[in-house]
């Protein structure tokens, strides 16, 4: 018999909790966090994608919605806490890129 050391380290650490998920009818404030470089004259990109969502989502949800959009300063890095704080209190946050 051999004694093992867990290569995952202390697996009893409590993982960070996911933000609470709201039911669609409750969603009124939607924010976008872009994960890509922004080109005003480029092809498909997140800004254009979010404009489409801003048109489609109120139709789907049947209510007026409030939108907020930001771009990460460096697309390859996780957003800094200061920027994440801007999204506290929003009902839903969509983070992504579009190609």
């Amino acid at each position: 018999m051999i004694e093992l050391v867990d290569p995952r380290g202390d697996v009893n650490l409590v993982p960070a909790a996911l933000a609470p998920r709201r039911h669609a009818p409750e969603v009124r404030r939607i924010a976008f966090l872009s994960n890509e470089e922004e080109f005003m004259h480029g092809a498909l990109h997140f800004q254009r994608y979010t404009r489409i969502l801003q048109r489609v989502l109120p139709e789907r949800l049947g209510a007026a919605l409030v939108f907020h959009s930001e771009v990460k300063p460096v697309l390859s890095r996780a957003a800094e806490q200061e920027q994440i704080d801007h999204f506290v209190g929003w009902d839903a946050v969509i983070n992504g890129l579009a190609k």
Partner: protein, 366 residues
Amino acid sequence: MTRPEELALPARIDPSDWPELSYQLGLTDGLPTFPPDRSVVERLVAGSGLPGDFVVGAIPPRGQPGSVRAIAANAAMAGCLPEHMPVVIAALQAMLEPIFNLRGIVCTTHPSWPLVIVSGRAVTDLQMETRESVFNGGGARANMAIGRAIRLVTWNLGGAYPRRPVQEVMGHPGRMGYCIAEEPVNTPWEPLHVARGVDAPSGAVTVFGCEAPQVVLAFGAANLGSIILARVADQMRAPGNSNVHTGGEVLVCITPSWARTLAEQGWTRRSVQEFLWERARSRLGDIRMNSDGSPAVHPDDAYYWWPDSVDQTNPDEMVPVATSPGDIHLVVTGADSLPYMAVCPSWGALGGFAITRALPEHSTEH
């Protein structure tokens, strides 16, 4: 639903049960491993010269604390010896510097992975291989075990599993283990770490996030530096290479025999870097195009990562693949035979920048 890697690891097992257990618990990426036997792990901890509970850093993407003991458990699975541990630890410390952006390198869609490059006296101390088949270990235990340990640390402590959250589209063979050594003796030039301004009597580790090597042959070319280096530059500026669009840094490997030939013709590391930087350029209008094929030169389309010296409104601007000559990293390695070279494109300006750390004095002697 409980994922395999969330299942508890038994405290004690029969060693013959390890292979199946490691797969059932998702503790390996598919390759077989050695069991993280506590007696072996403690010898590796001792080899690191650090306390077992010393935390090197949070290993992304999960952010699990990377204690020396947990790192040693992964190194044991990889087949490391105690004298390999200072290299593993130094490499991880370098990768965890914020500017390296290890989280990004691990999770990106791009096929980059941290290449560990050992240079100086440690190469001899650890009996690392620098000759034939260097990019797949050259048959040396240290090359393979060190690279493999880094991989398993990111797998088991970082939780870097495909799709959750790793989004790499095609994959990279180097993700199984990516470690090379620079030829320490039969080279005309100073070691990589010295060229990068790091004084390291015991040797050093440089990490660099990059793609798999693209080999450049000298067929049909005169044995003249400017001719063959121009061929290397052509490889560096291939339109599909990441650096053509995102700049940053590039790795170029040169065989010892070819490095000596270059040196006999008066080339230094610096002059090779400068030559490649001048030649490895692309016309802006040929690499950034609108959907109708016209050059994408509107000021609002400008890449923020290209230096100010690049006029992004001029379609005839020649854009370098690296930010500066010093961002083309030369490593003398490979078989001491033919004038082969290899280009490893990188993640460009988005991360994985080369970082060099000196190894502690006498740490790799055994």
